[in-house]
């Protein structure tokens, strides 16, 4: 590609919806709900596991303004999954919209709809439910073959073999091995092993999950929702409500953050049922407490890692055995688990043997689901912590150990072929990987060689550095697909209709940039409309770091086809050969370089002036990746530890990222900065605690600490010069990679500071202090 021709990509234009949102224009689901929509709320279980013996709604129904109350007896019993994934879903169909059994504190018991919030809240307090409380599974390490069974019912199923054994509290299981890991480990000069634990982090998207529903003129169910994937939502709703998909339309307006939690239908079926039952518009918005107690978390995991190496630092074997807690329902159970290996193990592709396996178990706790990082952050914490332990044992610099063993351009890993998401993966040779540069540059930026790794800066205050490297992916190859429609409009602008779903990341903007770049027109001439199942082409939605790469390639293809279609149309009009017509800078040229016509003139001609040959010029692009080129990153941190309190402060976090071409460098940078802070939150403060009875105690922003702007020092983000040949204009995706390294890098810095390794997240002051005291520090 000619570099001079680039004028719309690799440029930091503002987000096309930015100013309107800052000014508070009505743009989000709740802003757009009809004023007369019924208010819907859910009665939720106070018990971790119980059978509903009776529900008395008679007093509640007397409340003035009540429209309807639905219980499990009113709803068709259809096992489905709420997970917005490809089809068939790799998640078990183990959820009912309402059920006779409740499986965690927060599970849905009844749907209550009325005129306003006050009457609905009054009615909620008047519903009398009699429960038979059942024994609950509240420790995921005790789940397998526990006498208490979370899902004893027989009418639930897997869509294809995922190791589903609900009678044993196993939602999914998996194991793979290349070579013989045990044997190689036995033969290694140095073996390190450890067991790491990660917590059930909450997404805390600032906008709570929300939806409103209504029946349109044709009696079709319209759903407007804060969803990350409108097309999956339509499919899942059709399944759960036993409705043909032609009768459902799903739209996503602007959305206040997702991070994975809105990849799932947490609210849509409840509003829909009220609309179907009453014929009236209905809206539902969760409270923050409900978001914590009754949406999704990151999968809590236990990761046992064994690494074996030769004395010279050659990594020879990795064995990772994982137990993952999916909570009450199995959404994303298998796939998150697999990413724990598939997006960490290939980092070290030269090993003689690698093994990965384990189980995903049901408990009577908040369900886990998709969350930025999607297993890779858990796997990274364990693997990259173990790598540092290995470096200590070998007496080697952690940087040199990684350099010696990490993946590079032109290389592959068996793991790519073996592990996909729920099924086999795809073979892939890495065409862009600037990890070496990322490490070198990150090392400079954090002053790794210029300052001692550990230094006392005041009595009881130690500064120390640590690092980790990471990889992620760019979409799910051969499973996830995105499409785009381009259509020429009079006055020479283009409509770009995309099924892709901008969560606030700016993907509508970067997709417009890609179209503008290929067409050679200003970005303003690309008018984007997105995320509406009636009016935009299919796209899987925003997850798995797919939009830039998958949807971006679809847009690129649509634009390439548009260029060709325009040349053909002009050729037809002017009786020329299509090959002789050139299109650039909004003009059509003949072989002599003479202007034939302008895009603007031709756009009027084709719609108004060309008589019998008038036509709409429209093209479609669709893309499904044959591979998932990983973005890479090196993360370096400097922490300051207070040895009296165990408190860790991040002084600086340096991220040097290879995501190929940055279509919009500012937006890419913010993706990384935001990911880093969520990773730092997971590492340090986002603690999850349950009561003995299984009630989530950390269920508000008072009790669950997300990082504020005073909590973290400097975040420094740079990008490597990199070009991914299979990506649009050389781009890979960048949404998740930033979150992966902080837990390991910070734990490694703590280890460097004190000699003490803390194996469990988050590294809160009490936990750190306890570990220091136990080690006699």
């Amino acid at each position: 590609m000619n570099k001079e021709s680039i004028h719309s990509v690799n440029i930091s234009i503002p987000k096309i919806d930015g100013t309107g949102l800052v000014l508070g224009r009505p743009a989000y689901t709740e802003d757009l709900a009809p004023q007369d929509a019924l208010v819907v709320r859910l009665l939720r279980s106070p018990h971790a596991h119980a059978r509903i013996l009776s529900i008395d709604t008679s007093a509640a129904l007397q409340v003035e303004g009540m429209a309807c109350i639905l219980t499990w007896k009113d709803v068709k019993r259809i096992a489905y999954t709420r997970a917005g994934q490809g089809h068939p879903e790799p998640s078990p169909h183990d959820k009912f919209i309402l059920d006779e059994y409740v499986r965690y504190v927060g599970d849905e018991v009844a749907i209550v709809a009325g005129r306003d919030l006050a009457c609905v809240n009054r009615a909620l307090s008047l519903i009398k439910v009699e429960y038979e409380v059942l024994p609950a599974v509240l420790d995921f390490e005790q789940a397998v073959d526990n006498p208490a069974v979370v899902h004893p019912e027989s009418d639930i199923h897997e869509m294809f073999p995922i190791g589903f054994e609900p009678k044993r509290n196993i939602a999914a299981a998996y194991s793979m091995e290349v070579g013989n890991a045990a044997q190689v480990l036995e033969d290694c000069d140095v073996v390190v092993e450890g067991t790491w634990y990660t917590q059930a982090q909450n997404h805390v998207a600032m906008e709570a999950h929300t939806a409103f529903t209504y029946l349109d003129l044709h009696g079709r169910l319209n759903v407007v929702s804060s969803t990350q994937n409108p097309f999956h939502t339509r499919r899942l709703l059709g399944q759960a409500l036993a409705m043909p998909l032609r009768n459902i339309r799903v739209q996503k307006p602007r959305i206040g953050g997702g991070f994975g939690t809105k990849q799932t239908i947490h609210v849509e079926p409840y509003a829909a049922l009220v609309t179907l039952a009453t014929g009236k518009p209905a809206k539902i918005t969760l409270t923050r407490k409900e978001v914590f107690e009754a949406t999704f978390t990151r999968h809590q995991m236990r990761l046992k890692v064994r690494l074996g190496a030769a004395k010279d630092g050659r990594l020879r074997a990795i064995d990772m055995q994982v137990l993952s807690n999916t909570g009450a329902y199995g959404e994303h159970a298998l796939t998150v688990f697999m990413v724990g290996g598939s997006k960490t193990l290939p980092l070290y592709n030269k090993v003689e043997a690698v093994a990965y396996g384990g189980q995903v178990v049901y408990t009577n706790q908040v369900s886990a689901g998709a969350f930025r990082g999607y297993g890779a952050v858990q796997g990274n914490f364990a693997l990259e912590s173990a790598m540092d332990e290995l470096a200590h044992r070998l007496g080697m610099s952690p940087i040199e150990l990684r350099r010696r063993n990490m993946i590079g351009e032109g290389q592959t890993s068996e793991v790519f072929r073996i592990m996909g998401e729920g099924s086999e993966g795809v073979e892939m040779t890495i065409e862009s990987c600037k990890l070496e540069y990322c490490i070198q540059r990150g090392k400079e930026l954090i002053r790794w060689d210029q300052e001692p790794l550990v230094r006392q800066v005041a009595p009881g205050r130690i500064r120390a550095k640590g690092m980790a490297i990471a990889m992620q992916g760019s979409g799910i190859p051969l499973i996830d697909m995105g499409s785009a429609n381009l259509e020429l409009q009079d006055d020479g602008f283009f409509k770009l209709h995309i099924g892709a779903t901008d969560l606030g990341t700016g993907s509508d903007t970067i997709l417009a940039q890609i179209a503008a770049e290929e067409l050679g027109v200003p970005v303003e001439d690309i008018v984007v409309y997105a995320s509406d199942t009636d009016h935009t082409p299919y796209d899987v939605g925003a997850y798995a770091s797919s939009t830039t790469y998958v949807s971006g390639n679809a847009v690129l293809q649509a634009a390439q086809r548009m260029k060709q279609a325009l040349r053909e149309a002009v050729a037809e009009t002017y009786k020329l050969r299509a090959e002789s017509v050139q299109f650039r800078d909004g003009q059509f040229y003949d072989e002599q370089g003479k202007v034939i016509t302008s895009l603007k003139q031709f756009s009027f001609d084709t719609l108004y002036h060309n008589g019998a040959s008038m036509k709409t010029i429209a093209t479609t692009g669709s893309f499904s990746g044959e591979k998932s080129p990983p973005p890479y990153m090196a993360g370096f941190v400097e922490i300051e530890l207070d040895t009296e309190t165990g408190k860790i402060d991040v002084i600086e976090y340096v991220a040097v990222v290879d995501c190929g071409t940055t279509i919009n460098p500012n937006l890419a940078r913010i993706q990384v900065e935001g990911g880093l802070l969520q990773g730092i939150g997971m590492a340090l403060c986002e603690d999850v605690q349950y009561s003995e009875g299984g009630h989530l105690l950390t269920n508000s922003l008072l009790h669950y600490k997300v990082p504020g702007r005073e909590d973290v020092g400097r975040l420094t983000v740079e990008f490597a010069e990199s070009y991914e040949p299979s990506g649009p204009f050389g781009a890979k995706s960048v949404a998740e990679i930033g979150i992966d390294t902080p837990p390991a890098a910070i734990a490694n810095a703590l280890r460097n500071a004190t000699g003490v390794r803390v194996y469990e997240l988050p590294l809160t002051p009490p936990r750190v202090l306890k570990a220091l005291r136990a080690a006699g520090k």
């Binding site: 100013t19 600032m206 206040g256 923050r288």
Partner: protein, 151 residues
Amino acid sequence: MMITCTINNEKKQLEIQAGEMLAEVLRRYGYTEVKTGCDTGSCGLCTVLVDSKPVLSCSYLAHRAEGRSISTVKGKEKEAVEFAAFLTAEGADQCGFCSPGFTLTVLAMREELKNPSDEDIRHYLAGNLCRCTGYEGQMRAIRKFLEAHHE
């Protein structure tokens, strides 16, 4: 009960329920630019200016607004447009859900603090959470916005 107050420079009479918070009332009356995010006064999304001071409208009893002047981001549109240019130039608007409340706090800070340091800025804005940006982009935008105003 009825209260009388000024909202975005317009005199308004509002019907409120006892115990109702200002955020609920404002949204009910169509001021949807006022967002809510936490129910516990922890996130800053619902920030409005009451007599030019930022308050959390989710935990500010509506009846206290009697006789006062309330401004949502729409009431500060000129200044908000100016700030939005800096925020969006950094890509730090992101999902935008926290932006109206955050923007009002930034505008109040500009009035209240003379030549604030980075530390002062972070402290003043500590109550405005953002889950998208990591705050750095917001800081870059604020610094440039304050510098531009200074010149």
